[in-house]
Each structure stands twice: as C-alpha cells, then as structure tokens.
Amino acid sequence: MLMVRAFVRPEKKDVILGSLSEAGFHAATVIDVVGRGKQQGIKIGELIYDEIPKSLILVGIEEDARDQVVDIIIKNSKTGEFGAFGDGKIFITKLEEVYTVSSGKTGL
C-alpha cells in the first residue's frame, strides 16, 4: 500500500477530491498548510511571500492504483494546459499497515 501526499492549490482542492471520489478513491484527509517551493516563494518588488497557503491531501491507496491516482491529481491541479509555478507537488511513501478503528480490521 502507498500513502500519497499531494500539495495542491487550495482552490483546486474540491475539484481534486470530487474526481478522486468519482474514480473510487473516496477516503481522504485534508490539511491546510503553508510552505514554499523551488521558486523561493513569491517576490513582488522588495517583498517576499514564502509562506504560501496550500492544501495537503493525504490518500491511502493500493500499489496498482498509483498511476491512476497520480494522473487524476495532476490533471485536476494543473493551472491551464501547461501548468504554472505553484501548482504543487506529489509525494508517495510506503504504507505498511492500515487499521480501521471501528472494526479493528486491517487493510484499506
């Protein structure tokens, strides 16, 4: 199993969650975060904004769904056809075990 962590624009959050749900990945956790990326934030004249608000979406998936989920997130979080700086990043880590509290069962 894999844990997908996607940093996306907050305004794209609902579209991404909607598409994930349609594709059968309904469960997700969303956290509001601030951060900066490779462009070192946004520079406007002398001012630097390096705490840019983003939404962090956490989704637990099976390994064979990896490409599909990544595709869905990228497709829906891109700005325009070619994308723009600040569209976000996706990190994928291994997920060893999952427990559901109500039933105590393992697995997603």
Binding site: M3, L17, S21, H26, A27, A28, T29, V30, I31, L58, G60, T93, K94, L95, E96, E97, V98, Y99, T100, V101, S102, G104
Partner: protein, 136 residues
C-alpha cells in the same frame, strides 16, 4: 522505527493521550484536519445517529438540515478530525495500535477513524544529536 498516523474523533483526543501514556508512549503530535472515509452505502447504519442529531435542531422536518446531516454522516462532505502522529520503535507498534483502537471504538459503527503505519529511516534529537531508537 515506525510512524503511526491515526485519524480520530475530536472528542477522543484526551482518552487517546491518556491511553498512549499508559502503554509508555508519551510523545506525539496532533493537528486538526478535515477528512472523509469510505462512503456509507447502507442507510440503516446511520439511521439512529441521524435521528439523534436532527433532534438537537429546532425542527425535525427541515429538508436542508436533513441533507446536511446525511452528507455529514455518510461521508460525502469533509468533516473535522484530529490527526495523531506518533513515532515509535518497531516493537511498540502493536501496543500503540491496540491502545488507540481500544479507546476510540464507539457504538456508531462508522467514523471511528483509521490508523496508518509508515516506515521511516531516521530520527534525530536536536538537543543532543542522538540518532535512531534512542532519539525517540
């Protein structure tokens, strides 16, 4: 070393803290998150809860209120939860999971949360520079 991420009910934060302490895991981080789980396809699971929550409101035949409550209960919309992150040694994973499950289970059948266990490579205590298990 393992990272245990548990998404739990907001009102179970204190019991969880206490239970973790009892099994010898004092350290944790917690943040407020919004989340949703699997869709509840069987309406009978949430019938009782729907009645209880609607009874808290002023009118019970309000369609808008009912729609909101149903969406909240069946997981169509995001609802608030607390995300606990606990870093533990390999041999402590089982009792951490047991403790969390024990105090977080309710009679509501759904919405009690999920526990994710992820591997991580290194932990470093900033004060001393200790690494590995002794830094946890």
């Amino acid at each position: 070393m393992k990272e245990v991420m548990a998404v739990i009910r907001m009102d179970k934060v204190n019991p969880t803290k206490k239970a973790l302490l009892e099994v010898g895991i004092p350290g944790f981080s917690a943040i407020s998150v919004m989340g949703r789980g699997k869709l509840v396809n069987d309406p009978s699971v949430i019938t009782e809860r729907k009645k209880t929550i609607l009874a808290l409101g002023r009118s019970t035949d309000d369609k808008v209120a009912e729609k909101m409550v149903v969406e909240f209960l069946d997981g169509t919309r995001l609802f608030p939860r607390r995300l606990f992150t606990v870093l533990v040694r390999d041999e402590e994973v089982a009792r951490t999971v047991d403790a969390i499950i024990r105090v977080n289970r309710t009679e509501n059948k759904v919405g009690d949360g999920k526990i994710f266990i992820l591997p991580f490579d290194e932990a470093i205590r900033i004060r001393t520079g200790d690494t590995g298990n002794s830094a946890l």
